[in-house]
Symmetry: C2
Subunit: 411 residues, 2 copies
């Protein structure tokens, strides 16, 4: 019996890494005043069909349930979120700042860094259309990676605004119906062969050198965002790059992606999607929106491959697993008293481990050290006194075996 | 667009309740030295067929994926866990103490407290067959409810051992093939009409009065467990009750359920399943096992209906949502400095909110109070000094606008 291809078991050491990433995400998102939400894992397929574009429908884990409903494991959060916000937006003060961390499912060909079940952090801001909001979201995206020890040497944010191209196309008399097609060319520009680019652009009456020249110029529309980011001291973390358009059709303005420098991989991506709520609510709710998602798979790869970040990760995994106290029962006739004491310490929130079966004292100390516990509390002949031993220094103190006094020694 | 029946949206206020429950579970399980793991949401249907009994197969969200695999959303954790443990048990010191919190899926008729997507905490102990281990697991189950403010008035643990009935049946010459059938009668004994019970028992040659007499006597096999629990001071939380057999076929020894006194509902259930790993590994791994699961749906209902527990829950929800600092920008020309300062505080881990758009100072203070922030930091004409205002007392202090000094004032 094995996991399905593209699905993962998280043994405790794997889970500790996952928890380190999730708790880092949560801490940073909350520091920005975002509050957490969650949606269902299974949704009606219609929710994904309805979202304009529907790029992900072909990759759905979709099926007909026992009640004849067409359902799908969620491939992304945005449609669920937009549904939730549209349904109750009047209940919330604007701007709405929400984040969520969950699992998503895409039936994709398995490849390095792509799994069929993966986790994503989603951060979204609704009801704000300001550059201040855009700078806030990009600052949040940056801090989400800095918190793990990554620096401006390890990643940067590529920023663009889709309106740059709207403007470019309208100046050249290209109709808006063809803009999505044009953005696909821009999206693939750096990966596609030159003659293919030339041929595709020709259908728009655009020459490649003209396009290259346009790309080299800074876009006036992004100037105030550049200033807002520089005000925050983030200029070294960002690059404005008009080739960034992001794949999903629902983006309407600023788009950005966080890029891992040494890995050539995107760590996060998002942008403004001011029309999606309106589409999904059949016009009844109109709210500007700006959001991004961070995946867990590539991030963990990058953290493990970046020495200063990998060290932090490894330390967190070790700390996650170690008990704070290892209880040593040196006299089996005192087991009841010992277990009661350890239970009290646990109820105070301490992580306490102890052997369930009788065992030589030396063996118990060995277990304590292997577990990485900083302290051992030895219950034995001295009861109602106990020995508190600091395992690193082998210092011992004999103190009353009462949880109240012990707590301050081992916390 | 709505959620599917039996699935939930967690708006931030709902999610805060969920997080309170999850973090309580995590804190207590970790205090007992349990480490966290996770498995995939989707598994091969065979995994659930293979587990003896297969009671849940009829309730599966199962389908054929795009690769023609028969797959199912997991209806419970135990088969995944047993698969994981069987695959790598040599890598882990015994006893193995693992817990997990995740979502599960059953296509059931919707009813009060039963959803199609629900969360469960699973705690399992492998490689221990002692009464000490059983007492430890039951103590853990008890502390998992005490941590939310529930007391021995609100819940208790019903305990039995399936071997009590094995013994009973063998004494009466009933073959082991019929023991599962007999346990189903015991399971339904208190809910079934008397004449049905009498008729069913007659097929075993057993009279109802004989059974009732047996039920009234304490079982010698459970005596040492009763002592171990009393040693921990838990006697008021437990009742030995031979009618408890738990539905799932894989239990082999001690079984128990946590019961909400005023609600007449089970909050948790589990027991010893010493043969399951062997079955799932085709005999290659043999490990004693003992585990239980706690669901989120009934627990949250009980917490909300129990005044002292509901108060704790409500306080946790309020605390979850409130920023620690609300940044007031009293002079828009100082916005850049203000945002930089707030960003520094955030990077120190403080939850800081501030308005993205220019706004009257009075309105900003109103937002700060509505958000429940304990402090406001006012950046204005005094810059590089700032005002720190304690919102409850209206006390104000003017201090340098440097994050290092401010931190100690507002933490």
């Amino acid at each position: 019996m094995q996991t399905l291809p593209g699905f993962r078991d998280f043994y405790p050491v794997d889970f500790a890494a996952r928890r380190y990433i999730f708790e880092g995400w949560r801490r940073v998102a909350r520091s920005y005043g975002f509050v957490e939400y969650e949606g269902p894992t299974l949704e009606s397929v219609d929710l994904y069909r309805k979202k304009s574009g529907g790029e992900l429908v072909g990759q759905l884990f979709d099926f007909t349930d026992k009640g004849k409903r067409e359902v799908a494991l969620r491939p992304e959060m945005t449609p669920t979120l937009a549904r939730m916000v549209a349904a109750k937006e009047r209940d919330f003060k604007k701007p709405i700042k929400w984040f969520s961390m969950g699992s998503f499912y895409r039936y994709e060909k398995q490849q390095d860094g792509r799994l069929r079940e993966f986790a994503q952090l989603n951060c979204d801001l609704f009801g704000d259309h300001s550059v201040a909001g855009e700078a806030e979201m990009i600052a949040l995206a940056i801090d989400l990676f800095r918190t793990f020890g990554l620096t401006e040497k390890d990643f940067y944010v590529r920023i663009n605004d889709r309106r740059v191209w709207e403007h470019f196309l309208s100046e050249r008399g290209v109709t808006t119906e063809r803009s999505e097609e044009f953005l696909q060319i821009i999206d693939k520009l750096e990966r596609e062969r030159e003659e293919v680019n030339v041929a595709k652009l020709a259908t728009f009456g655009i020459a490649l050198p003209e396009l290259r020249e346009f790309l080299a110029r800074p876009a006036p529309i992004l100037e105030s965002l550049a200033v807002a980011l520089a005000d925050r001291g983030l200029q070294d973390f960002v690059r404005f790059d008009a080739t960034i358009v992001r794949g999903l059709a629902y983006y309407t303005g600023v788009v950005f992606e966080v890029f891992a420098t040494a890995h050539g991989r995107a760590l996060a991506g998002g942008g403004r999607y001011d029309d999606l709520i309106k589409t999904l609510s059949d016009g009844s709710v109109d709210l500007p929106a700006l959001g991004f998602a961070v995946g867990d798979v590539v991030l963990e790869k990058v953290l493990r491959a970046t020495p200063h970040a990998a060290e932090k990760l490894e330390a967190a995994i070790r700390a996650d697993h170690a008990p704070q106290v290892f209880g040593v029962i040196a006299d089996e006739t005192r087991r009841a008293e010992a277990v009661k004491l350890f239970s009290e310490l646990r109820r105070e929130g301490l992580r306490v481990d102890y052997p369930l079966a009788a065992m030589k004292v030396g063996k118990q100390f060995q277990l304590a050290e292997q577990a990485g516990a900083p302290f051992a509390i030895v219950v034995g002949a001295e009861w109602p006194q106990v020995k508190v031993k600091t395992l690193a220094t082998r210092e011992e103190r004999v103190v009353p075996g009462e949880s109240s006094g012990l707590l301050s020694l081992v916390r």
